[in-house]
Symmetry: C3
Subunit: 462 residues, 3 copies
C-alpha cells in the first residue's frame, strides 16, 4: 500500500491539530542562527523523531563563510524618560533586532532613533529584523509605539552575549533500500514567526515521524538548520551525502491559507519538479509552479552551481508576498491545523510518487495482451471502457523500458496514483515486470543523468 493511501487512512483532523499544537509550543522560543533557542528547538523535535544534533564551532570555515559567534539573549528593553519600559523583549522576542550586540546605554531619542524599526503602513505590527553579518544592535516596535516616544533621555539595554560557541543543527536520517537520498530541509532560525517557519518545521517533523519504521525505497534525510549559514555548513561538512541527493524540497510558509506554490529546482525538470507539479495539478485548486530563481530560501544553496541538486521549495503563500511576512502578525492565528495537514498530505503525495516511480516492462509487447480472459477488461463489447482499464492500456503501451510511471501519468493525463495502481494489477497478472533498480539508473532520463553527473562531480571534489 502506498504512502498516500496509508496517510489518507489516518485521522487527519487530529494530525492537523497536533501539528498546530507543536508549533504553539515552539512559538515563544527566541531562536536565531546560533544559540540556546535553536538547541531548545532541536530538543523538542528530538522528542518526536530520531534526531542527531550537531555543534559546529565558531570560526570553522565553511566554503566562503565562517561559522559566526553564538548569540544568546537574556533580556532587552528600552526605558523612557520616566523610567518605564516602552519596549520590552519579554512581551515579544521580535522587539530585539535578532543577533544584536550587547548594549547598555542612555541616550536622547535622536540618537536612539536610527536603531528603531517600525512599519508605518501596519501601525500595530512589530517587524522582524536581523543583523547577522554586521555587528549592530536595534529594536523593532509597532508604529504606534514609535509615535508615542517623547523627546528625552532613554535607557537602552540588550543583555546579549555574542561569543565563541557553536552553530547547532539537527539531522534525521531514515535509511531505505537505496543509498540514494531524498532531502527535506527547513530553517529553524526564526523566532516567534509561525508561518515562516514553524509551519515548515512542524510539517517536516511530522513527515519524518510518518516515515519512521516504514519499508522505504529511498533513504530520507531531514535537516533542521539555521537559514543560509546552516545550509552552507551542512553542505561543507557533507559533500558525499549531498552527492547522494536525488530529490529534495525546502519547506517554508506551509501553514497559511493561501494556495500552494512550488518553486522548481535549478535543473527545472528534475523528477521532484515533475512530481510536485503533478500533485499540485491533480489535487490542489489554484496551485502554481514557479520557475527557479537564485533568490529565496535554502534551495539557493542546494542549487548553487557546484552542487546543482534537484531541490525545489514548497510553499503555500510565497514568502515576501503576504503582508504578515516577517512581522508579529505571522503568529499562531495565521497558521491553521487544516492548512498544515494539507501541506503534510501534499508532501506525502509527492513522496508517494518518488517511491513508486519505477520503469516497468510489458511482457507482451507485440499487440495487446488479452486482458479479457484475465478479467481485466469489460466483458460485453461495444461500450466505452472505464478509466481503470484505460490506465492499464496506457501502462502496457508505454512500459517499454524507456518510460517511467510518472512519464506515463504525464502523457496520459491520469493521476499517478491510478497509473501506479494499474501497474501493480498488471504485475500481479504477470503482464508486467518492474525493471531492476540498477538497470533503471543506467537508462535514466535527463534529470537523473544530471544528478548522476553531479554525484561523481561531488565525489571528486570531496
Amino acid at each position: 500500500m502506498g504512502l498516500l493511501n496509508e496517510f489518507e487512512q489516518r485521522n487527519r483532523v487530529e494530525i492537523g491539530d497536533e501539528m498546530h499544537r507543536f508549533a504553539g509550543e515552539l512559538y515563544p522560543i527566541c531562536r536565531s542562527i546560533t544559540g540556546d533557542g535553536t538547541r531548545q528547538t532541536l530538543a523538542m523535535i528530538q522528542d518526536r523523531i530520531p534526531l542527531e544534533t550537531f555543534e559546529v564551532a565558531t570560526g570553522t570555515a565553511v566554503f566562503d563563510w565562517i561559522v559566526p559567534k553564538e548569540w544568546n539573549l537574556r533580556d532587552a528593553y528600552i526605558k523612557g524618560p520616566d523610567g518605564k519600559k516602552v519596549v520590552d523583549f519579554q512581551k515579544c522576542n521580535l522587539h530585539v533586532v535578532n543577533y544584536s550586540a550587547p548594549v547598555r546605554a542612555r541616550m536622547p531619542l535622536d540618537t536612539l532613533k536610527p536603531h528603531l524599526f517600525s512599519i508605518p503602513e501596519k501601525p500595530d505590527w512589530i517587524p522582524y529584523r536581523t543583523s547577522y553579518y554586521k555587528e549592530d544592535w536595534g529594536f523593532c516596535l509597532s508604529h504606534h509605539q514609535m509615535l508615542a516616544l517623547q523627546d528625552g533621555e532613554y535607557e537602552v539595554c540588550i543583555d546579549s552575549t555574542l561569543e565563541d560557541g557553536h552553530l547547532s543543527y539537527g539531522e534525521c536520517y531514515l535509511p531505505g533500500q537505496l543509498s540514494d537520498e531524498v532531502l527535506i530541509s527547513c530553517h529553524i532560525c526564526h523566532p516567534s514567526l509561525a508561518n515562516d517557519n514553524l509551519s515548515g518545521l512542524a510539517v517536516a517533523a511530522f513527515l519524518a515521524q510518518f516515515l519512521v519504521g516504514r519499508d522505504l525505497r529511498y533513504s530520507y534525510r531531514f535537516l533542521f538548520i539555521p537559514g543560509t549559514i546552516g545550509a552552507i555548513t551542512w553542505l561543507a561538512r557533507n559533500r558525499e551525502a549531498a552527492g547522494r541527493v536525488r530529490h529534495g524540497m525546502v519547506l517554508t510558509c506551509v501553514g497559511d491559507n493561501g494556495g500552494f506554490h512550488y518553486k522548481k529546482s535549478r535543473q527545472g525538470n528534475a523528477e521532484i519538479d515533475r512530481a510536485a507539479a503533478h500533485i499540485l495539478h491533480h489535487y490542489c485548486k489554484s496551485a502554481e509552479i514557479l520557475e527557479f530563481s537564485p533568490y529565496g530560501y535554502d534551495e539557493r544553496q542546494y542549487c548553487s552551481p557546484g552542487f546543482n541538486l534537484p531541490v525545489g521549495c514548497l510553499m503555500r503563500s510565497v514568502w515576501g508576498t503576504f503582508p504578515e511576512y516577517h512581522t508579529s502578525a505571522d503568529n499562531l492565528n495565521f497558521i491553521q491545523p487544516k492548512q498544515l495537514m494539507e501541506s503534510l498530505q501534499v508532501c506525502t503525495a509527492i513522496l508517494d510518487i518518488l517511491e513508486g516511480n519505477r520503469c516497468y516492462r510489458n511482457l507482451n509487447p507485440y499487440g495487446e495482451p488479452q486482458l479479457g480472459r484475465r478479467g481485466l477488461y469489460r466483458s460485453t463489447g461495444g461500450e466505452a471502457i472505464e478509466s481503470e482499464i484505460n490506465a492499464r492500456l496506457w501502462v502496457l503501451n508505454f512500459s517499454d523500458g524507456e518510460h517511467s510511471l510518472l512519464d506515463i501519468a504525464e502523457r496520459s493525463g491520469q493521476p499517478f496514483f491510478a497509473i501506479n495502481q494499474a501497474a501493480q494489477t498488471l504485475c500481479e497478472n504477470h503482464l508486467l515486470e518492474v525493471i531492476p533498480e540498477e538497470a533503471t539508473r543506467l537508462e535514466q532520463s535527463e534529470g537523473a543523468t544530471y544528478s548522476g553527473r553531479q554525484r561523481s562531480g561531488s565525489h571528486s571534489n570531496s
Copy 2:
C-alpha cells in the same frame, strides 16, 4: 503528375455515389470477427481490387491470443407468449448480440431480461453489442420494443454455430519502387453499421483501386481485417512485412458529415502524422489533430510497444462521440457520397505527400541562382513577387540535404503541393536535384530513424 492532381481530374461526384452504392451492397451482410459474412464481404471487395484472402484456423496462437471459433448465424428470434415474433434477426442483424452462442429455450420474461439490451435515451434505436471472448448470448432491441414486452413465457432461438473453423482476412498488396510499405488498414467485422465501418472499407477499397497500375514510390498494403484479433493475427504472421511499414493509417468513420480528425501515431511526429496534419490544416475546415492514446481501433495493435509502427487513424467524427455510434442509426443515411469522396480525397492528398516527400539538393547553394535569366522570376524590379516565385526561393534555400519538401512546406507555411511544384520546376531547370533514395534514408530525420530502429528490432525478433 502527382496523385492529388490526377484525382482532382476525376469525376468526383460519380466516385462518391459509387462508394455509397458499394457500402449499400455490403450493408445487409451479417459480419462478425469470423464466419461467412466476412468471407462474403471479402469476395465483394475482390470484385474491385486484387485481393488475396487468408484463412487462419481456430486455435492458432497469435501472440497472447488464440484465433477463436468460427461463428455463423442462420436465424434468431424471440417469440412472445402469444407465439408472435417480438424480435426478429431477419429484420435487422443488430438484434442478435454478435457472436452469441446457440440457444433454443423457453423462459419467463424475468429470466430473459438480463439477455436484452436497449437504449432508454434513444428509444427507437437498436444498440450493437458483442460477446466475443465470453461465451454468452443476447438480443438487442429498441427501447420501445423492450417496454412493450408483457409478462409471460417467451421462446428464444439463436440458430448459430460456434465451431472450429477459420478467421478470414484480405490483403491487397501493390508493389512500388521501394520495398518500404504504406499500410492502410480497416476493420470489416461490424454488421449493419455504415459509418463504422463500411465507410472505411469503401474508402480503402477505392483508394487501392485508384493506385492499381500506377508507378508508385512506396509499396502499398491494404488490410481488410476483423478488429483487434485480425490486426493481432496479421502482425503475428507478418513480422517482416510489419518491419517494412514506414507509414500507415487506420480508416474508420469516414462517411459522416463531421469535420476530419486525425489521431497521431504513438511516435507522435512520424512523417504520416505530419503529412496528415498538413493536409487537414491546409484543406479542411475545422479539422482536428488528436494525440495518440492506447485506446481506439487497430492502431492500438500497430502502435503496441513491440512494433511501434508509425500508424495513425483518420476519422471524420470520432468513434464513440456521436450518438449514432454502435446503434442502428449508423445506417446508410448517416453516410453520404460527398463525405466519402472527401475522405478519399484527403487520403489521396496524404499519399501525395508521402510519395513526393523527398530531399533535394540546391545545385547553386552559394547565393541565389539567377532565376531571372531562366524565366523563373518577375522581370520588372521593384514590385512584390508572386507566391510561385516565393515557393522556389523556399525550396532553393532549404534544399541543403537536411530538409525534406515537407519540412520546407511546414516552415514556409505554404501547401506541400506548391512546394513540390516549385521543386519540379527547379529540377527541370537544373537548379535542383533529388537526393538518391538510399542516401535519403541514411540521413533521415527522427521519425524515420525510429521506424528504422523498429524495423531491425522486429527482424531480430521474428
Copy 3:
C-alpha cells in the same frame, strides 16, 4: 565602459541631425547597381570613415551570376506633341526606369504607353521601377501626369550608356581582438529613396564612425554594396572572410517612424537573433521579431544554404508594407533625425551585447559566496533585495561555464546591461572570472557550432 553606455553620453540630438543631413546630401544622386552614382556615394562615405572601394569588371563570373554592364545616365525626358517636356529626369531621377537602355525615338502615345508606369491609387507619387536583368527602357510618372497625356506623337530620350565597365562597392574593416567578424551590410543602389536605403546607409556609416579607434573584441566589416548582385559579388570574392562572420545584420528602412522589426537569420537562434530580440524586447515599444524567410534584402544571399551565415535584418517599418515604399514619397521628410538616431542606438545596444557576451566562471560555486562582507548585499536582514543584488545572484548561480551572460539575461528576465554590470562587479571582487575566449569557442552553444561548421565548410569549398 560598454558601447551603449558611451553612446548614451553623446549628444544624440546632434547625431540624429547629422545623419539626416548626410542622407540629404546623398539623396539627389542617381544611383543604380553600377555606375558613377554609386562611386560618388562611396566617395561621400569615404569622407567620414576609412572605406576601401572595389571595382569588379563587367563580365566577371560571380557564382551563378555575371557582373553586369555599367550604367550611366546623363539625361532623359519625354516631350509632348507640342514639344514641351512632360516628363523630365532632371526634376526627379525616379522618372527613368533604373538601368534603362538608351533610346531616342518618336512614337505615338499608344506605342509609348507600355513603357510608362504610374500608381493610380497614389496619383501624386512617382513609382520606382528597375529593369536590371532584361534590357528594356521606361519612364515612371505620377498618375496625374499620366492622365494628362494627350494623343499625338511623343519624343522620347534616354541618354544613357550601358557598357562594359565595373561594379563598385566599399568595405570598412575595423580589426578587433578576434579575427571573428561582425558583418554590417547595406545596399546603396537605390536612387532618390530615403528610407530605402539612405537611412540604412547613414546608420551603418555612423555606426562605423562610432567604432573607429575603439578597443573592440570582434573585428567589424561594413559593406556598402549594390543589392543582390553586390552581395553575391562580395561573397564570391570573399569566401574566407565570409567564413569568419559570427554575427551580422542587414540595415534597411531604419529612418521612418514605425516600430522596430528584426527578421531572424536562417539559423533562427543565432546569437545575433537573440541579441536583437533582447534589445527590442527590453528597450523598444511595439517591436516585432520576424521569422526568417528567403525573400527580402541581402540577408537572402548571406543566408543562402552554402553560407548560412548568422545574418538578420533590422528595420523599422518592414520594406514593402508601407505605401511610400518604392515611390517618390519615400523622401527626406519620410525619415527623421530622431528615428535615425534611435536606430543607431539600437544597433549600438545589439553590438554592446555581442561585445560583452562572454561566459564566466563562479570562483565559489559551492553555496553562495558571502556577498555581505564584500559590501555587495544589503546589511539589515529581513527585507527584500534590490535588483542589483538579484542580478549578482543570477550571474553567480549560472556562471558554471555553460551559460553566457545573454543566456543568464534571458533566463532571469533582466536586461543584459544589468547582468553584464553585475558580472563586472563580481570580477572586481574576485568572485568571478571570464573564461578565456578560445575555451569559450570550443564549448559554444548550437548557434555558434553552426557557424563553426559553416566556417570549415566554406574553407573546403574555397
